[in-house]
């Protein structure tokens, strides 16, 4: 902690010192080196910060470091302008930053931990929209300048002049980059909004017949129009706005058919898209910190997407073509009449657990939704005081995102070493007396191992059926997030405890106490 404070202090002193020295002599010649130095500090902050975020001990400081880097970069842009030219509209800019800061802080502070994935998606969409708006404004300015020249000397002269000086190709490059930023930003914005709506439960999966081909056609249209316009085969600014609309449509249709369980992968991918859009801005403005930050996120985000896919044992292609979303309806229909289930009462479960020597809790999104993590921790402490060993089995995608469940349980003070990852806990189930599945479903579905026709086939799962007893706490027999039935519930070892996760856990706590 001490180290962090000194780091912030150093940053602040540098910021104030350099700023003040510039204010005394505000000439462009003095401003530019300071600006570039600040951009350099910003870039270093991003790289080192992201590196530190990869280790649990240093992660928080890494985030802080990246944030400090961002302050340097933004202040440098604001104070020193571009190419030694001071900025206009500074009060307006500062007002917009203030507004964004207040609203952003409020949103980020108020959001429930369970809704974190949506929030990330929303903020990502904001970044994408920002990149798209930049493209829109740059094009507006470019066409305004052009129109001015054209009306004065006539198009042919301009074309000849441009060709002679080679300015034509520079303009083409510029337009190409504007297009890249616009398209990627728009797709990222539209896609993120759909992902947000899906995670909020407001938008359902939806797929047109042959949607892959529709999407490919849309993507082809966008790229074709943009290339045609850039290279001069198409004329007029109308094409630009058409590209904007089709890109937005593509973003929407790209995310719509993808199953909810794959949303984290999609968000991560869109995240790297926005990174690339930011990098386009850096290219356009000759701005190193934007370019570096953008490319860094673009590549880190892509790798993160692949790593997340691997953790779920899904290929990126399957995710993008929406293999889970489409197949699930048919699978659940064919699978539903699986046998009889055994319903348990809280008292039964309390007795089972109190006299067990080892209990493993499998927390799922249901636990998070019911805000039951605190009661769960209470039950854990109670059982431990009775001499029962309690652990948590954390599936890589428990909750809605990798690591999401760890965050939720950490929030209710569950100790770090109690959270055991899938590979480490799976061998332990054989020696476990009771497994308590709280609001999880797909991550304990044996169909992932046994049924090749199942949409989740191949996903690694928690082998809870190896334990002596399994208790599944669920609100009803409704299917899980992937929309498929679970054979585990019909297993003779398995009993169901119906009800809201929080209420049921509360009952368990009082039953164990009263025994």
């Amino acid at each position: 902690m001490k180290k962090l404070i000194s780091l912030e202090t150093i940053a602040l002193v540098m910021l104030v010192g350099l700023g003040a020295s510039y204010m005394m002599d505000p000439t462009p010649e003095r401003g530019l080196p300071i600006q570039e130095f600040f951009y350099l500090l910003g870039s270093i902050g991003f790289v080192v910060g992201l590196k530190m975020m990869g280790k649990p001990d240093t992660a928080r400081r890494g985030n802080m470091l990246a944030a400090i880097g961002m302050v340097f970069a933004v202040v440098a842009a604001l104070v020193f302008g571009k190419d030694g030219q001071a900025l206009h509209n500074v009060p307006l800019i500062i007002g917009a930053i203030a507004l964004g800061t207040v609203v952003g802080t409020m949103m980020a502070k108020r959001v429930q931990m369970t809704a974190m994935p949506q929030m990330v998606s929303l903020f990502n969409g904001m970044g994408g929209a920002c990149a798209a708006l930049i493209g829109l404004m740059e094009f507006h300015e470019m066409s305004a300048t052009f129109a001015g020249i054209e009306s004065e000397i006539g198009q042919a002269v301009v074309a000849a002049a441009l060709a002679l000086t080679g300015a034509s190709s520079a303009l083409q490059t510029q337009l190409g980059i504007i297009y890249a930023g616009l398209i990627i930003g728009t797709v990222s914005f539209a896609g993120s909004m759909i992902a947000f709506g899906k995670l909020e439960g407001k938008i359902k999966d939806f797929a047109l017949p042959g949607q892959q081909y529709v999407n490919l056609a849309l993507l082809g249209t966008v790229l074709g129009l943009a290339a045609g316009h850039t290279l001069g085969y198409l004329e007029g600014s109308l094409w630009f706005y058409l590209v904007l609309v089709v890109a937005a449509l593509y973003g929407i249709l790209f995310v719509l058919p993808i199953g909810g369980a794959d949303m984290p992968v999609v968000i991560s991918l869109l995240n790297s898209f926005t990174g690339v859009a930011a990098a386009c801005g850096g290219f356009l403005y000759d701005n190193n910190v934007m370019l570096m930050g953008g490319v860094l996120v673009g590549s880190a985000g892509t790798i993160l997407t692949v790593v997340m896919c691997n953790a779920m044992n899904r290929s990126l292609t399957n995710v993008l073509l929406g293999k889970v979303g489409g197949a699930s309806a048919a699978a659940s229909a064919s699978n539903s009449a699986g046998g009889s289930i055994r319903e348990l009462q809280a008292t039964d479960v309390a007795i089972m657990m109190k006299y067990a020597s080892k209990v493993v809790v499998v927390p799922g999104y249901g636990l998070a939704v019911a805000q039951a993590q605190h009661v769960c921790h209470e039950l854990e402490l109670l059982l431990e005081s009775e001499g029962v060993e309690v652990k948590y089995a954390i599936h890589p995608v428990a909750g809605r995102m990798p690591g999401h469940m760890n965050v939720l349980l950490a929030e209710s003070n569950v100790e770090y070493d109690k959270l055991v990852e899938m590979e480490d806990i799976n061998p332990e189930f054989a020696t476990t007396d009771v497994v308590l599945v709280v609001g999880a479903n797909d991550v304990v579905n044996p169909a992932a191992k046994t049924d090749p026709s199942s949409p989740i086939y191949g996903m690694p799962i928690l082998d809870v059926e190896n334990a002596k007893q399994v208790v599944v706490m669920k609100r009803s027999m409704k299917a899980g997030y992937a929309g498929i039935d679970n054979d585990l519930f019909y297993n003779s070892k398995c009993g169901m405890l119906f009800g809201d996760a929080k209420d049921s856990l509360q009952k368990l706590v009082s039953e164990v106490k009263s025994l």
């Binding site: 991003f46 910060g49 992201l50 975020m53 990869g54 649990p56 928080r60 985030n63 961002m70 842009a77 206009h88 500074v90 307006l92 800019i93 917009a96 930053i97 964004g100 952003g104 980020a108 959001v111 974190m116 929030m119 990330v120 929303l122 903020f123 990502n124 970044g127 920002c130 708006l133 930049i134 829109l136 404004m137 190709s169 490059t173 984290p264 991560s268 990174g275 801005g281 850096g282 290219f283 403005y285 701005n287 370019l291 570096m292 930050g293 860094l296 996120v297 673009g298 590549s299 880190a300 985000g301 790798i303 993160l304 790593v307 953790a311 995102m401 690591g403 950490a410 770090y416 990852e421």
Partner: protein, 105 residues
């Protein structure tokens, strides 16, 4: 034409190439527990696109309402991305921190 493009932007191309490698190296060996905070942190970093919005609003003429309005919205959205991203990430990572302390105490 392509060779010319590469020649003119050679410094950028070196930079992009190296940054791609750095990005891959940074993320390759990260425990899955940190995937969500990491995604969120990277999300905040690409908010650097805000600088672009600042620059473009900063060169807009005071009678060009199209650019003023869009630029204002752009800066607000970019700031949301940056500030919201970092604060959300910090909130997630705060949980990890608290837990570590609790474990030691």
């Amino acid at each position: 034409m392509i060779l010319n493009f590469i020649y003119e932007n050679i410094e950028f191309i070196y930079l992009i190439f190296l940054m791609v490698i750095v990005g891959i190296e940074l993320i390759s060996h990260v425990p899955s527990v940190l995937h969500t905070p990491l995604m969120s942190g990277a999300n905040a970093i690409h908010g650097v696109v805000l600088i672009g919005a600042i620059l473009v609003l900063g060169k807009a003429h005071s009678d060009d309402y199209f650019s003023l309005v869009l630029g204002f919205i752009g800066v607000v959205l970019g700031t949301l991305n940056v500030v919201g991203g970092f604060v959300v990430t910090d909130r997630m990572l705060e949980m990890f921190k608290k837990k570590d302390k609790g474990g030691k105490a």
